[in-house]
Symmetry: C2
Subunit: 122 residues, 2 copies
Amino acid sequence: MSPVPATTPIDATEEQLAQVSYNDDGLVPAIVQDHDSGQVLMMAWMNDETLRLTLAEGRTVFWSRSRKEVWRKGETSGDIQRLKAAYYDCDGDTLLLTVDQQGAGACHTGERTCFFRAFGSS
Amino acid sequence: MSPVPATTPIDATEEQLAQVSYNDDGLVPAIVQDHDSGQVLMMAWMNDETLRLTLAEGRTVFWSRSRKEVWRKGETSGDIQRLKAAYYDCDGDTLLLTVDQQGAGACHTGERTCFFRAFGSS
């Protein structure tokens, strides 16, 4: 049985958090990337509360736009995303999170990544 | 002098293009990833027209929300993004493009990636 890695909170400063700009709905897109493979796993949305929860708990926590509620990724499936690092972009309107994806993957379809369909015929 | 690689259009089907869902502004977020390094370079927005232009021209073309115009990435700087592959996610509301980034980088600040600032003190 392999040990379960502990989550590692990230101690962001208020100055850093103030750099994030939210859209009219109070949300910012968050790209989730596998820390080891570099594979882009998914994109979801955060508000100020769930960004702070993500950093404090060391796992991804999103805002579900459909259910209008806090969504702890993997709460039901167990396939949580342990946070390795978190970045904000040059104009502060997009986040990038690198994670250790637990379990089968990030996608509700059972695929490892939500981006499993390519344009084109090849 | 190294040869300039030719752009490679992607021949998407109408069925694939119909899987993309746009927000109320007619836009979809497009994540851009370096094909070789896996580094996430930037996120920008596309409408149906600029997604089709991207696939047809084999380079990234976005919709500038601030300028409200078609934005051929690198048109001024020359640092274009040559398209390698393009994906749409499970619910069709996010795109992922893998590219060969030409020149210095993707960010208007001169950084290679727009995600050059991390939360936390380390």
